[in-house]
Each structure stands twice: as structure tokens, then as C-alpha cells.
């Protein structure tokens, strides 16, 4: 076994042996200082009353500005440029915030999620659907026009996964044991987060972060939404920053249709203006791939 250990160690060292260059020390220190400053500002905002004004300004959700239906989703990434000037938008009065995610729903009973978790990687997103009536769903990770991550499928309590094309996985679809599912993050992790994208799921999640405010009822394209909002009262686990989340719930269905999240930038890369355009899956058919 020791020999195996040594062989594996040696192989890994060879794999990771490419030159590493030197650390961008000045930029790291500058960004670190900026993070400290932003946190201090964020705390004072949280202690005050500026959260709604701040998010409202960042969103452009003043009367009329947000009433553009899905077009708002498509335009939003450029609305929340942090350090890049956006002269046609209201200037945030507090720490700069950025949009990090939005969900879209396609139908009443089932929904399809298009999710961009990282603006730095263009066209890299999660795509999937979940039908609570039949309890079936699938998801895949796209990079550009191909699947780059494993495909996952859920049938009731059965979970299947297969590796993306091009990786060494001779087994095709594999059923996962409950323990493996749990270790991987549970049902939600197989559905682009869709399982918790229900009103109760989201609100439960939001409650853990701080007091949830009911922002009010809003109309977009003649559809009524109830808007709820929370700003974290402590740094988000694993990230170290504060963020603000809004949940838009369609009044007629009770489904969360869009989730917006802003986060104070924490690193040099995040200061770049997001350029990804959100896709809308409205009107696209939902297909279930049986493993």
C-alpha cells in the first residue's frame, strides 16, 4: 500500500509540476484592503436603514424601471457593473453590488433553471428542470454549446449521473447510492438548486441569513409578483462576504420565478463588469432524458 501511496503521490506531483510564476502580491494586497473597506461599509449599511434604497438603486427597481418582464433578466448583468461606470443607471449609494444569479421558470408545474454562478466564465451555466408533480428532473452543466459537467437525472428518489463526454467514464449512467447523493449535496445539488427554488424553500433559506422583508407586490408584464428580500447579517458561509437576495414569487402560482442576488465584490476579478447575457428558456420545451 505504501508503494501505491508513493506512486500516486509521484504521479500527482508530475501532474502539478508546470511552472507557477509569481504571485500578484501588490494586487492581492490592494484587493484585500478593498475587501476590508467594503466589509466595514457593508456593516454600517446593515446597521442603518439604507438596504432597501441601496438595492433599489442597484436594481433600478424604482417605479417603472423594473416593469419589463424577462427583458429585465436579460439586461441585468450590465445594470450592476461595480467599478465600471454605468451613466444611464442610478449610482448605488452604498458598497457596490453585483448580480450573481437569476432563475427563470418556464411553466406552472415544472420549471427550467438557467443559472450563471460565475460571471467570470462566459457561457458556463447550469441548465435543468424539475417537475414536482412527477418528481422527475435533470440537469447538466454547459460550457458554450456543449455539456462540460456530468449529466444528472432524478426519478423520484433515484439519482443517476454520468460523466461529461471526453472524460474517463466507461460506465455511462450510474445509479448513486443514498450516501453518495447525500455526500454530493443532496437532491438540490442535482437540480441546479431547483429543489429549493420554491417559495417555502427559498424563504426558509433566507430566514437563516437574516430578517426577511416583504418588499411589496410588483407588476411585470401584467403578472403580479410578491417580492421578498434579505440581506445577510453575517458573512456568507464559505465566501466571507455579505449579500442581498430578492425572491420574486408569482402570486398566482406561488412559485419563485426569479432570484436575484447581489454580493459586495471581494476580489480583483469581481470588479470587472459582468458581461454574460442571461438566456431565457421561456417557451422552450422541457424534456426528460431517461437513463
Amino acid at each position: 500500500m505504501n508503494t501505491d501511496h508513493e506512486k500516486l503521490s509521484a504521479a500527482m506531483r508530475r501532474l502539478a509540476s508546470a511552472p507557477t510564476g509569481t504571485p500578484p502580491l501588490d494586487e492581492l494586497v490592494r484587493s484585500g484592503r478593498r475587501t476590508v473597506r467594503n466589509r466595514a461599509i457593508g456593516r454600517s449599511v446593515l446597521a442603518g436603514v439604507g438596504v432597501l434604497a441601496l438595492v433599489g438603486a442597484a436594481l433600478g427597481l424604482t417605479a417603472g424601471a423594473g416593469d419589463r418582464g424577462t427583458a429585465v433578466v436579460a439586461e441585468s448583468p450590465t445594470m450592476h457593473a461595480t467599478t465600471s461606470p454605468a451613466p444611464h443607471r442610478a449610482t448605488p449609494t452604498g458598497p457596490p453590488m453585483r448580480l450573481v444569479a437569476a432563475f427563470d421558470k418556464t411553466a406552472e408545474a415544472s420549471f427550467r433553471v438557467a443559472q450563471w454562478s460565475d460571471w467570470r466564465v462566459k457561457d458556463n451555466y447550469c441548465d435543468g428542470s424539475w417537475d414536482p408533480k412527477t418528481r422527475t428532473g435533470w440537469m447538466g452543466i454547459h460550457e458554450g454549446d456543449r455539456y462540460s459537467g456530468p449529466m444528472n437525472a432524478v426519478f423520484g428518489d433515484d439519482f443517476y449521473t454520468r460523466a461529461p463526454a471526453g472524460t474517463a467514464d466507461p460506465h455511462g449512467w450510474q445509479r448513486m447510492s443514498p450516501a453518495e447523493v447525500k455526500a454530493a449535496g443532496g437532491r438540490d445539488a442535482f437540480l441546479c438548486g431547483a429543489d429549493t427554488a420554491t417559495m417555502s424553500g427559498i424563504l426558509d433559506d433566507m430566514k437563516k441569513e437574516g430578517p426577511v422583508r416583504y418588499v411589496g407586490r410588483r407588476d411585470k408584464d401584467g403578472i403580479a409578483y410578491d417580492v421578498y428580500q434579505v440581506t445577510s447579517t453575517r458573512p456568507v458561509v464559505g465566501d466571507g462576504s455579505y449579500d442581498t437576495t430578492q425572491t420574486w414569487v408569482r402570486v398566482s402560482s406561488g412559485y419563485v420565478e426569479q432570484i436575484w442576488s447581489w454580493q459586495a465584490p471581494t476580489d480583483p476579478i469581481h470588479h470587472a463588469s459582468p458581461t454574460v447575457t442571461l438566456l431565457s428558456h421561456f417557451g422552450h420545451p422541457i424534456t426528460i432524458g431517461h437513463p
Binding site: A18, T22, G32, P164, A168, V236, D243
Partner: protein
Amino acid sequence: MTDDNERSSADESYADFVSRSWEGYLRVARLLTGDPHRAEELLQDCLVRLYARWRAVSRRGSPDAYLRRMLVNGNVSWWRRRRRESLVAEPAERIGPSPVSHHDDELRRALLALPRRQRAVMVLRYYADLPEREVAAVLGCSVGAVKTQNSRALHRLRGLLATDSQGVR
């Protein structure tokens, strides 16, 4: 000591730490992410966040353990870093052309096919050479869980490597 002096001294020790550890942790990040660009982004993300907590972390004398944990968590949570956006799928994982041997390339692809948690165990155990107890501390789980993940990962790796080799022949 004034605030300015203290800041300067903290900056210096932070810079020392980064200069000293950059190479090693970038390599850990490469193995964790499977992508050299993502690895550098991940490490920079973590180092910026580390700066914000540097005084407390360095005072406790545990910056290595802290950074290691940030790297693993940061990689695991890349797709699900916003809690509600929980995803388990792998992000785009590519490694550009590299002068590795065929066998090493097989290993690279097999490693990438492992679930992130198992890959983290592999990297920490076999690359960083950490004992199981420390791997458990980094991953925030029990030693037993590390053993289980380790065993599963090895089993899967063996299967993948064996099949891959057959395919090549």
C-alpha cells in the same frame, strides 16, 4: 504600536506567507480544479479573503490550515457558492496541453472524473501528504469519513484507469 505600523507589519508577514506558499498552493489548486486558470482564480480569491482575516489567522498560527480549507471549500462550492445555487456538477474542467506522459494523462482524467470531495481527499492525502486526521480537519468531517472517501476514490480510480488502459489498447 500604531495602526499604521501594525498594518505594515501585517502586510509584510502576509506578503511573506504568500510568496512562500504561492507555488505549493497553486499546485494543490490545479489538482483540485483540474484547470490551471480556475486554479489561479481560486487561489487568488482565497488569498484576498485571507488578507481580510490575516491578523487573526496569523495570530493563531494556522494560515496554512486556513488556506487549505478555503481552497477545498472554495472549489467544492464554486458552483454553489451562493447557497441557493447548490450544484454538484463539475464545472468546465480542462487542462491545456501539458508535457505529461500518457499514464499521467490517464490519471489526470480519472481524477477529474471523481466527485470533488473524493478528489479533495486524494489531493490532500497523496499530493499534500497530509495525515487522515488533518484531511478530516480540512474537510470538516470525521476521520472515518475520510477513510471511506479515500477507499471509494481509490477503488474508482483503479476502475477508471484499468478501463481506460484497455480502451487505449
